[in-house]
Symmetry: C2
Subunit: 247 residues, 2 copies
């Protein structure tokens, strides 16, 4: 008997002009996606928006309403273009000011005489938020409602994710098995559709790639939260692959 | 005198469960963003959605209404989980069927006896769309309205982008200069805000990083479409950097 468990879902919101201009290549989406997947949290949507308050507010409100969690990256530094904290406060309709706890964290890293107005911006936290400690450079992220606000620098974001992970509600973990078809995608597509239709609670993905031997090849990924259903579909995919036409 | 030119904008929609699970790390967003930026096309938003028709239809219709162009990647292969073409047809409210031109392209690469039902899916093109040739593996993308539908495999996507680029409406190119601050971000933040406020038509971004010498450093990126405005702001940023407090 399998317990019926409501899935735990998430969205990722990447904030920053530098990603949209291509100047900086995002490395956070894939990391967060893989991390949450191992926790049994399904990432259902990702958005990237510029450093524009209205865009951030709209995206935060759309995504936090729809998923269990929203994780944001970027825009919490000390400069004028770092407007994530203020935008999130606006999305929640709460005030924002320098938080004494966050200020104290900054002072673990920065001398009091260096805590200028720019750096104090990093201690601005929306009213009612909990802090997410930053073991790398102290300036914290925060967690308000179901929204977790993290830095954009990958090492810092990763450390923040480790801080919040133990407190996330996790789901039944998605199990995944990969079968190498040793065949072209177009030759497995027909039989694969029949198997997929016979196993509606299993997700089967097909990912073509060019093999190192120069032959087009295909990875077939079978996913389910139920190990028995996974095994049943996997056996059929394997049997199909064993008999399908080769190159 | 600077001509007032309406900006040319774009969104990118990445379609695929494998990106959201973290199994595949996206390499297309950064490539397309950088490519369009050099053409003077501003990427204003990115979304990643799963292989779910309703999600694709909603995202296509939201993004195509808002930006000059929408570029999609993924979901145009031969298997049951490749539902992008059908979803785009639904978003536009047009019919979709095997397109004789696309079928002929497939036959340049695939023998007639190998053109099975799965592979024929790759010739399904929404009514009224133009084809985007695929020099790598023949199965075409397409262009309907302001939506350009491309493959997810990076080499094929890149080749398709080269095919469509000469026909895109391009904007006045965004000019960009980077100044290495040789200072911590928190020490340039205050004076940088004053410069940014004095130059509202110039965008100034601040990107901290850990230098190879182990010292926190900052890249300041000044951007404008107007070379004189860029030069004026750049001179002030340089003067500020020359006198700001070092580590």
């Amino acid at each position: 008997m399998t317990a019926s468990v409501e899935p735990v879902t998430a969205a990722i919101l990447v904030i920053g002009d530098e990603i949209l201009s291509g100047r900086t290549k995002d490395r956070n989406i894939g990391y967060i996606a893989e991390y949450l997947t191992t926790l049994g949290i399904d990432v259902r949507e990702v958005r990237v928006v510029p450093d524009v308050e209205e865009e951030i507010v709209t995206a935060v409100n759309a995504l936090r309403a729809r998923y269990t969690y929203l994780f944001t990256t970027g825009g919490i530094g000390p400069t004028h273009d770092d407007i994530t904290a203020d935008s999130v406060a606006k999305a929640f309709g709460v005030s924002i000011d320098v938080d004494p706890r966050a200020r104290a964290m900054l002072l673990e890293y920065i001398k009091a005489e260096d805590l200028n107005e720019a750096r104090l911006r990093m201690a601005r936290i929306p009213d009612g938020a909990e802090l997410v400690p930053n073991p790398v450079s102290k300036a914290p992220g925060f967690w308000i409602g179901n929204v977790i606000v993290m830095a954009g620098v990958p090492t810092i974001m990763q450390a923040m994710l480790d801080q919040v992970a133990p407190r996330l509600r996790t789901g039944v973990r998605m199990l995944s098995e990969t079968i190498l078809a040793n065949a072209r995608e177009g030759d497995v597509g027909g039989p694969l559709r029949i198997i997929a239709e016979a196993h509606p609670e299993v997700t089967i993905g097909s990912y073509p790639f060019m093999g190192e031997d120069g032959r087009p090849n295909t990875n077939l990924v079978v996913r389910s939260r139920d190990p028995r259903k996974l095994a049943a579909a996997l056996a059929e995919v394997q049997a199909m692959v064993d008999t399908v036409r080769r190159w």
